[in-house]
Symmetry: C2
Subunit: 231 residues, 2 copies
């Protein structure tokens, strides 16, 4: 029974862009698994509601629905213990929960204002209108105002990555010698940005730039081959 | 052969306060080990220079000196593999490196301005003068100016702890069901603050407050029994 994965897309169904869906895509590849992609758009709430979720990723394994990228990673680790580990043991699983929080807040939350005004360009009209309306309500201003000043603000973002930079001074990946789910948590946000926005998040001399390059290239260049802007 | 540990103290030799030394103290207790404490003061560089370090902790295991809290944790994990693990496997060891960076920057770096002006009160005259001179040079202003406005600034610090708060919503410790070195990395900073300063870092309703209480109580209340201010 093939796995199926609801993935957020815009007007181009072959261009998934959610940072959380990318965490799952990388996790599946790490396990040597593939899933049939079910393109899903912001306004298609009814397609996933029967599975008990309002957001993607939602993964279907036969009759079972697994919702939320963190739950999916754990499900894959537990269901395929003989395949390469996503966490490298129970200590790694527990600490990855912390890195998941850091990824949600510092990476996804940090990048969002920079790329928010570019996202509607990737969406069909109905989804673009939904996105603009809901996100402008959340931020309390037009998307273009949220993104204004990003050339300055990105310097604070780069500084906020210092714990990652420190880590990469002594080991090639957050997971150690090889990447694991800790890396995919963080990378998902960078891939999201690359797919939807030309905005330059990192400087080439940054250790994090080189780390990101390796993840673009991982699994036969899976992330790099997905359509997007040069990062 | 007993382990020996150089620990930073001030005028009271029974009151170690370095956040890094507290990481090591907790790690030793986790392994069920003890070390003979060698009180060390800021101006006693010559006592540790022969061991190749300018900073503490420095741990001596017979003729071997291990310097830096991270290296000591790894040394303990590798030297005592049959005792409770500090990392919970190789994935945890790798991810703890990232948490070490986060702990250095967000916790130690975040707390330092709040307690910096209280630290000289804990030091003998010569050390207090050294501390003030070197730290005022680093910050470019008097310690009291660094600490000014901390009642407002602490709110930003509390917000910066959000990845930890998110983690504690779904598990009791960063290490999972039980604390491990990931917790001690972060806790070391809070214990440092408690030993030297009455400044209130956390609100009682914060999940992180409850987590910290459990670590004050760990190992028969080792951290709580060390002299300090009410936290």
């Amino acid at each position: 029974m093939a796995l199926k994965l609801f993935e957020l897309v815009g007007s181009d169904a072959s261009r998934p862009f959610s940072p959380y869906c990318w965490r799952t895509r990388m996790a599946l590849a790490h396990k040597g698994l593939s899933a049939d992609s079910i393109p899903w758009r912001f306004t298609e709430k009814s397609a996933i509601a029967p599975h008990g979720s309002e957001k993607v990723p939602v993964m279907l394994d036969g009759d079972k629905a697994v919702i939320d990228s963190w739950a999916i990673a754990n499900y894959l680790e537990d269901s395929y213990p003989e395949r390469p580990s996503l966490f490298g043991g129970e200590g790694g699983r527990a600490m990855a929960r912390f890195i998941n929080g850091w990824g949600d807040i510092t990476i996804v939350g940090g990048i969002f204002p920079f790329i928010i005004a570019d996202i509607p360009n990737n969406l069909a009209a109905e989804d673009a209108a939904y996105f603009r309306r809901s996100r402008e309500a959340r931020f309390g201003k037009p998307l273009e105002q949220v993104a204004a000043g990003r050339d300055q603000a990105v310097m604070g973002f780069r500084k906020s990555l210092e714990p990652l930079r420190q880590t990469l001074k002594t080991q090639p990946f957050i997971g150690g010698e090889q990447p694991n789910y800790a890396d995919y948590i963080v990378f998902g946000g960078f891939q999201w940005a690359r797919v939807v926005s030309p905005f330059r998040l990192l400087e080439e001399a940054d250790l994090i730039f080189a780390w990101r390059e390796k993840l673009f290239d991982a699994f036969d260049g899976m992330a790099r081959q997905s359509p997007g802007f040069p990062a």
